[in-house]
């Protein structure tokens, strides 16, 4: 620890500089509760069952770190009895970049580009979650137009993520990349829009505390409208190709079932949780941003297997298109950033804040403690990929190695976020 935490001193300092008013420290504000539903009691995680007497000898295989289907440098130490998995131990950290410590060494603004690199498929969602945390910390208000832009970019990101995920999942099943290439064709169009807006295709670095960096370029909304209007056609195409495919059904039905109790207890979020039938979507729960203005539904699975997780992605893409159409219709004119925010010398008041959004992979949260200086005192991320990965062994045990690959594929991880 570099220096002792002295809230009082820091708070006084912040108030003396006149940056914020004290009542904006709203970290004690009530958070909305999860919707009513079955109450899930915390049960201790079952100990790994004893390995049964094997047919032959147990075979220990190290899947990764340079295995083609671990989605990056990730390793699974798998113990196989024949082809059946009796034990699976995920090993990660190959891509560890000291992200959280880096965040504590840079200014609040300087940390924004780093968040792009977390889940590099969804940089705009990361930006938003971080901006939300800082805004909560400093009590900033976001202009209306900026909120709309945020929703549009975040939902476009969701489209990018989900369509690519379906492609990758099918690639793991051995389709030689055909669905992946179809997904990438759509992704390219969206990335073109991102490039027009932010100047970068993947590392967008666009959202700011109190709004967005720049206003939309002329014609951008029309460009996005075209993409969004054509997107359902792509989803239909994908579904015609895949959803009824005998082989896909055979491979995914009943594979990697995640029971709802386990999902809740392990803190799984996002499509994986909803595939297990639990109605928990932060867009509905927190209603952060302006999500309460849009009409959309949250799809829920019934079995919690890989097929449900696949279908969640497809159905969520359809809902995202609905949100996008509404947002594109309603977006007002106006400023895109609160002119009072001093981004360069940004100094939030002493306090702590946790900002979370429904990222495409699940609940992405940023937790910040400010000691009133220009750098966060503590900077912590709740990465959805990492936490969703913790149930990997429970889902894989008893299945074959080939199933483990698609179960991992359906969890949807990006190693940049898992290892940080």
């Amino acid at each position: 620890m570099s220096k002792p935490l002295d809230f009082d001193a820091a708070e006084q300092l912040a108030m003396a500089t006149g940056d914020v008013e004290p009542e904006q420290l709203d970290h004690d504000a009530p958070v909305s509760l999860p919707p009513p539903g079955p109450r899930y009691e915390a049960v201790p995680r079952a100990a790994s069952p004893a390995i049964p007497e094997p047919e032959g000898e147990l075979l220990e295989v190290s899947v990764g770190p340079h295995h083609p289907s671990t989605h990056g440098v990730f390793r699974m130490n798998v113990v196989l009895d024949g082809e059946k998995i009796v034990q699976l131990k995920p090993v990660f950290g190959y891509l560890h970049r000291n992200h959280e410590k880096l965040g504590e060494q840079t200014t609040y603004l300087g940390n924004m580009p780093y968040t792009d690199r977390l889940d590099y498929f969804c940089s705009l969602s990361n930006n938003w979650a971080y901006a939300l945390a800082v805004e909560k910390l400093a009590g900033l208000k976001v202009p209306e137009r900026a909120e709309y832009i945020r929703v549009i970019t975040a939902e476009l990101t969701r489209l990018v993520n989900h369509s690519s995920l379906v492609g990758f999942l099918l690639h793991d099943m051995g389709t030689m990349g055909t669905p992946l290439m179809y997904a990438f064709r759509e992704r390219e169009k969206i990335l073109d829009a991102f490039e027009a807006l932010t100047g970068a295709r993947m590392m967008c670095n666009y959202h700011r505390f109190g709004g967005c960096r720049v206003d939309l370029p002329p014609g951008w909304l029309d460009q996005v409208r075209t993409i969004v209007d054509n997107f359902p056609r792509f989803i239909d195409e994908m579904e015609r190709l895949l959803s009824e495919n005998e082989v896909l059904i055979a491979r995914t039905h009943g594979v990697g079932v995640l029971p709802p109790e386990l999902a809740v207890n392990a803190g799984v979020t996002g499509p994986s949780l909803r595939a297990s039938g639990i109605n928990y979507d932060l867009r509905k729960v927190d209603r952060y941003g302006i999500y309460d203005r849009f009409q959309f539904r949250v799809p829920l699975g019934e079995k919690g297997d890989v097929y449900d997780r696949y279908m969640m992605r497809i159905l969520e893409m359809r809902e995202s298109v609905k949100i996008l159409q509404q947002a594109l219709r309603d977006i007002p004119e106006g400023p895109v950033i609160d002119p009072k925010v001093r981004l360069r010398n940004f100094t939030p008041p002493v306090g702590e804040a946790y900002g979370r959004i429904e990222a495409p992979k699940g609940e992405l949260g940023f937790y910040l403690i400010s000691d009133g200086s220009k750098k966060p005192y503590r900077y912590r991320i709740r990465p959805p990929s990492f936490i969703n990965l913790t149930v990997l062994e429970d889902m894989c045990r008893g299945h074959t190695l080939a199933d483990a690959v698609i179960i991992l594929g359906a969890v949807d991880i990006v190693l940049g976020e898992v290892d940080r």
């Binding site: 919707p35 075979l59 220990e60 295989v61 295995h67 083609p68 289907s69 196989l80 082809e83 099918l170 690639h171 793991d172 099943m173 051995g174 389709t175 030689m176 990349g177 055909t178 290439m181 179809y182 064709r185 495919n245 005998e246 082989v247 896909l248 059904i249 055979a250 491979r251 039905h253 009943g254 039938g277 109605n279 979507d281 509905k284 539904r297 949250v298 799809p299 829920l300 699975g301 019934e302 079995k303 097929y307 449900d308 279908m311 159905l315 074959t400 190695l401 080939a402 199933d403 690959v405």
Partner: protein, 397 residues
Amino acid sequence: MNALDQLFVNLKQAIVGWFPGEWRLGVSVVISAAAIVGVYAGLFAITTWIERKGLGRIQNRPGPNRVGPFGLLQPLADGLKALIKEDIIPQRADRLVHTLAPILAVVPVILALAVIPVGRNMVAVDLQAGLIFFFAMGGVKEIAVFMAGWGSRNAYSLLGSMRAIAQMISYEMPLVLSGLVVAMAVGSLSLVDIIEAQAGYYGGVLARWHVFTPWGLAGFLLFLVAATAEANRTPFDLPEGESEIIAGHMLEYSGFKYALFFLGEYMGLFGMSGLAITLFLGGWRAPFSFLEWIPSWMWFFGKLFAFIAFFVWLRGTLPRLRADQLMEFAWKFMLPMVLLDVVALALWQYTAHWSVPLAGLWRWVLSGGLMFVAYLGLARLISPRRRVGPRTYRFAE
């Protein structure tokens, strides 16, 4: 026309004729062997290009387009790369077994290709038991796969080779049996005789291929599925399932040895396609009587390219099955279907001399109906949908 048809036969005879009497047999053998190796190796090069281009078209991308016009010289570049790449033998590998495996993967396949007639009078070896010989050589390939997997001393390799062998053994049964159905119908195991039996035309137009009979159609489809599995093509490409066991038994190979495995794989594919053509699609015969002017070898290779295109299409479209589903499919669907196909053939032959009105139609109904009903029943039995049923999704507002 006839000169073009017999061009290669006459050419070979002319060359053989230059040599003194006692040399002629040897020269003839050498020419045939060189022709088989050369033609099929050339076909291998073209096929890799077709495959990559075709997959590219299916996936909205251009495919190879840098080396030569339309990327046509890509196989050459690939071959050169394979030749000059370092040949790595893992330290703990069994050197002899590891080195012999790729050779053994290619040799039996070439031997098997020798019995397939590629045109009128164009067959390297006309064995009496050509069909059985072909299947026997397919069996030798399994040893090569085992040697590659075991000799590399790698868990993935071993796993992959065991998978591959289990798959090949399981699908050998329906493959051999569906081939033997044709042998039963023809009454000969010689591939030349089998093509001979498909001479003539229905109504003077449509060729009398076996595929145009109910048992032949069923046999052809079953053979095609089994051949896909035997040649390790999608959706049965588990032995080299890239996303699961990387390259299976070929994992520890590099450079030219790896290329040899691929040569073996593709030649196996040509062999399987060639056999399917010979057994069910009339070999080198034209489909319609008015197309007879096209040389016979062109017909054979035309059909072969059609098969290659079909396999490329499959590869670009279908996901891969899982090992246990693959086995289930082989034993619960393929095997009973093939056995029933024997019955269908018996019905067809038994009713050959019926003298009831509409006898032809009745034969079709009997023989084809049997296969169709069996298909419906068995397909329902193994369909994954029977087990899971349709899914409905709830939506929370």
